[in-house]
């Protein structure tokens, strides 16, 4: 450790402004501060500072994603061997390793492409490298179907980082959730790769699927009128779907970590789910013969990306509403819209991504009204007290 510190300290002058390797400044700084919390002390303002920083915050978010990610890897294997009809013969380790080998390249490609772009932009802007992409870089693989070709992952990641984040000014300035923009890009640019019944299961090397195996997600089945999915499997996560979204249990563990550490907004999580339940209930009352509308409202929580979206996507602090009241409205509308699109719109099998991106767009407007409310309330006090 000491040798490393000396190395970084010694090389620092070379990457400072005017140094020969100035173009490596952001890279140097990123690795140095990753390994060592800087020795900078307070020059003005408060003399003491909280130990929390962006690295700590982002690493907690990454930690909260780990259960869903690990389960996602296992599930990739489980679905693969399920398609082969070999769930009984293949062991846990075999399934997990299979998934690991499929998912790891996606994660690596995302990080290399995304972080590469971040480093370049940070250097150009003269900023520190922001930690936000550490989370985005895990979120992107988790919302992709496992069969997505790596080049598509690379292209959508690059699109998202450049056009959703950097052109707006980098971390903290973006309007939409970068991970969802990456997915939306894929969704519109290569629709065949992200919908249908075949993309959710890694079938490489499978000649013929087992009898009766379709590979369709429970949600797709429900949209076709078949609402007979197994709730328990959907809760545990042994269903086809995007890599990280299937296990509601793992997502709840993540939600627990985010809420107990205070990093994720419980207001948004709760209100999103409430909104979804409300819309589900509303659809139940007008369902008639439509069996999808008649799907018991709370079953919606177990299928598709609703839970994942509510816990990990809607809560992105930069693109979400920022005021406490605004968060309730924002989350509730995401829930309502997600189920509305999911059930009523035949073109999109899932509505969570659209709902969150749409509400990302409107979050500043919601906040605007909350802030105006605060201003009016305080003005009223002025008039009473005067």
């Amino acid at each position: 450790m000491k040798a490393l510190k000396n190395f970084f300290e010694k090389t620092k002058p070379y990457v400072e402004k005017g140094g020969r390797y100035h173009w490596l400044h952001s890279t140097h700084d990123a690795f140095f501060t990753f390994l060592f919390v800087p020795k900078n002390t307070s020059k003005s303002g408060t003399h003491i500072h909280d130990y929390i920083d962006m690295k700590r915050t982002m690493s907690i978010v990454v930690l909260s994603l780990v259960p869903a990610l690990l389960f996602g890897m296992y599930n990739v294997g489980y679905q693969h061997f399920g398609a082969l009809g070999q769930t009984d013969t293949a062991g846990f380790t075999e399934m997990f390793l299979f998934g690991l080998m499929k998912v790891l390249p996606i994660i690596i490609v995302t990080y290399v492409v995304g972080l590469g772009i971040e480093f370049i932009f940070a250097q150009f802007r003269g900023h520190d490298v922001n930690e936000g992409f550490l989370v985005t870089g895990i979120l992107i693989p988790m919302v992709m179907p496992v069969t997505t070709p790596l080049w598509m992952i690379a292209v959508s990641t690059a699109f998202s980082v450049i056009f959703c984040k950097e052109v707006f000014g980098g971390t903290g300035m973006n309007v939409w959730n970068p991970a969802l923009v990456a997915r939306a890009f894929l969704f519109f640019a290569y629709p065949a790769q992200i919908s249908g019944d075949t993309v959710w299961i890694s079938a490489s090397g499978i000649g013929k699927m087992a009898d009766g195996f379709t590979g369709a997600t429970p949600m797709a089945k429900a949209a076709m009128g078949d609402t007979s999915f197994d709730l328990w499997n959907a809760f545990i996560g042994l269903i086809p779907g995007s890599i990280g979204e299937t296990s509601k249990l793992a997502i709840l563990i993540g939600a627990f970590i985010l809420i107990i550490t205070g990093i994720g907004s419980w207001r948004i999580m709760v209100s999103t789910l409430l909104g979804a339940l409300f819309m589900g209930l509303l659809l139940n009352t007008v369902a008639g013969d439509n069996s999808y509308m008649a799907l018991p409202f709370w079953h919606h929580l177990f299928i598709g990306g609703l839970m994942f979206g509510a816990v990990f996507m809607a809560t992105d602090p930069v693109s979400a509403a920022q005021t406490a009241k605004g968060k309730w409205i924002y989350g509730f509308l995401i829930g309502v819209l997600a189920i509305m699109i999911r059930v009523i719109n035949p073109a999109y099998p899932e509505g969570v991504m659209m709902a969150i991106l749409l509400m990302n767009t409107f979050a500043p407007l919601i906040d605007y009204f909350v802030v105006q409310g605060n201003i009016k309330r305080r003005l009223k006090r002025a008039n009473v007290k005067a």
Binding site: M1, K5, T33, L35, F36, V37, P38, K39, N40, T41, S42, S44, G45, T46, H47, I48, H49, D50, Y51, I52, D53, M54, K55, R56, T57, S59, I60, D128, N130, E131, G132, G169, G170, T171, G172, M173, I260, T261, G262, I263, S265, P317, V318, A320, Q322, T323, A324, K327, V371, N374, I375, R377, R378, L379, R381, A382, K385, A386
Partner: protein
């Protein structure tokens, strides 16, 4: 009509090194100095030259734009030096005491029998006036304005702050006289905020004043918080705030007929051998006090004031005009390998992201290290947790950054000064310099609105 206010928002930072209730005379200080830089926005004009002889209460300098506001010598002696900084800015006027305790005499009168003008004249001439602070902006009060109300906070809730019941236990009569004088300066009321713990203390029994209780973590003791809940400030309002110490000075002036600015301060912090109280004087040189009371185990940081709003000083500097405490903490200028990733049993944090969250009673050593790099505003809802006011601090700060005067006004910039948002700066994940930004906003408002 006494009211009780209870807050949940805020934070008590549990620092090691709180002072014991023991009082000692501080080692005799070599020199005494007044620092014009202690007064925000002041442009000083000297009224003495080096080597001049002064008595306690004789003017050393005055406010260029309000020549009636005098700053007077706390002791009798010789003007030893006038220290200047860049562009000949006056930094310190140093007095060498002659030990004779000569003072300029003022009439001993009962303030209740005096007119407002008479009281103001006495306060200005004695040099006690600069203790009176004006809101908005937290600047020297303008004697030609009659404030809506006057606010006094009877307790300090900042980390390691002195216990006012202890340091003023012999000053009850002076407090009362001071409040009587202040009550003549406003057409409204004099408000005194106390904590529930002081219900039977010396502040609760004061007369001629409206006593409200404020319960909750820091910043419950900030006078800005009291104002917000009792009589919020809007455009055109003026409120004056006075510290209990200043009330005592005012009381002594009327009772003793002289400037008597001896005060009791706290020496606290994790690097102090025996944190306790010391009797000293406004502007005292700290060399003797700090020379053998600190541990010297690590690189130390000396702060005149508390860890949130105080000023960094050298150990041979002088006590700040308003400061009631000296805090000594480790500088912490060391690299920490993978610091952000460790469990953090010893890392105090307002967030619950470190293991320390499991030990709600433990006291911690905090250094001056910033613990991370500065980032853009990313997290939301963080600042609000530390401000018991109906304000939206992040929006306010963004209005400052975009130089939007109307917006700053609407979002309540008149209601806050740096100390009110200091906790936000402490807890901020993005390490944004909240107090600096706010002061920039206050400067803009002063210039544009007045």
């Amino acid at each position: 009509m006494s009211k009780h206010f209870k807050f949940k928002r805020g934070l008590d930072i549990r620092l090691k090194g709180a002072a014991e209730a023991v009082l000692k005379d501080a080692p005799v200080s070599g020199t005494v100095a007044l620092k014009p830089t202690d007064f925000f926005g002041l442009v000083p004009k000297l009224s003495v030259k080096a080597d001049a002889q002064v008595k306690a209460g004789d003017a050393l300098f005055f406010d260029k734009y309000h020549p009636e506001i005098l700053f007077t010598s706390p002791v009798s002696g010789t003007v030893k030096a006038i220290n200047r900084g860049e562009r000949r800015k006056i930094l310190e006027i140093v007095i060498e005491p002659n030990g004779k305790n000569e003072f300029r005499a003022f009439p001993v009168v009962d303030p209740l029998t005096q007119s407002r003008e008479e009281i103001i004249r006495l306060l200005l001439e004695s040099g006690i006036w600069p203790n009176i602070i004006q809101r908005p902006y937290g600047i020297l009060a303008n004697p030609s304005i009659t404030p809506k109300h006057i606010f006094i906070s009877g307790f300090d809730s900042a980390p390691l702050a002195p216990d006012y019941e202890f340091i003023f236990k012999n000053d009850q009569a002076a407090l009362q006289t001071g409040i009587n004088a202040l009550s003549k300066l406003t057409d409204g009321s004099v408000y005194l905020g106390i904590s529930p713990k002081q219900a039977n203390g010396i502040f609760a029994s004061l007369k001629n004043v409206t006593v409200n209780t404020f319960e909750g973590p820091h910043p419950a003791g900030n006078v800005g918080v009291h104002i917000h809940h009792v009589s919020p400030l809007f455009k055109g309002d003026t409120i004056w705030t006075v510290s209990p110490q200043a009330v005592v000075f005012i009381g002594r002036l009327f009772k003793e007929g002289k400037l008597n600015v001896t005060k009791i301060i706290t020496l606290a912090g994790s690097e102090v051998k025996k944190p306790q109280y010391y009797k000293t004087i406004v502007g005292a040189e700290l060399t003797n006090l700090l020379s053998n009371t600190t541990k010297k185990e690590t690189h130390e940081r000396y702060i005149s004031g508390n860890v949130l709003t105080g000023t960094k000083i050298d150990p041979d500097d002088y006590l700040g005009f308003f400061d009631q405490m000296i805090t000594v903490i480790p500088e912490g200028d060391e690299y920490e390998p993978l610091g952000w990733a460790l469990p953090g049993k010893d890392k105090f944090s307002a967030s619950k992201t470190f293991l320390s969250a499991l030990f709600p009673q433990k006291e911690y050593v905090l250094t001056a290290n910033i613990h991370g790099g500065e980032r853009a505003f990313v997290l939301t809802g963080q600042y609000e947790q530390f401000l018991p006011m109906d304000l939206l601090p992040v929006y306010l700060l963004k209005a400052v950054l975009t130089n939007d005067i109307d917006r700053m006004e609407q979002l309540g910039i008149y209601e806050v000064i740096e100390e009110d948002l200091a906790l936000c700066e402490f807890a901020d994940t993005s390490k944004i310099k909240v107090q600096e930004i706010l002061r920039e906003g206050l400067n803009i408002m002063m210039k544009e609105v007045g």
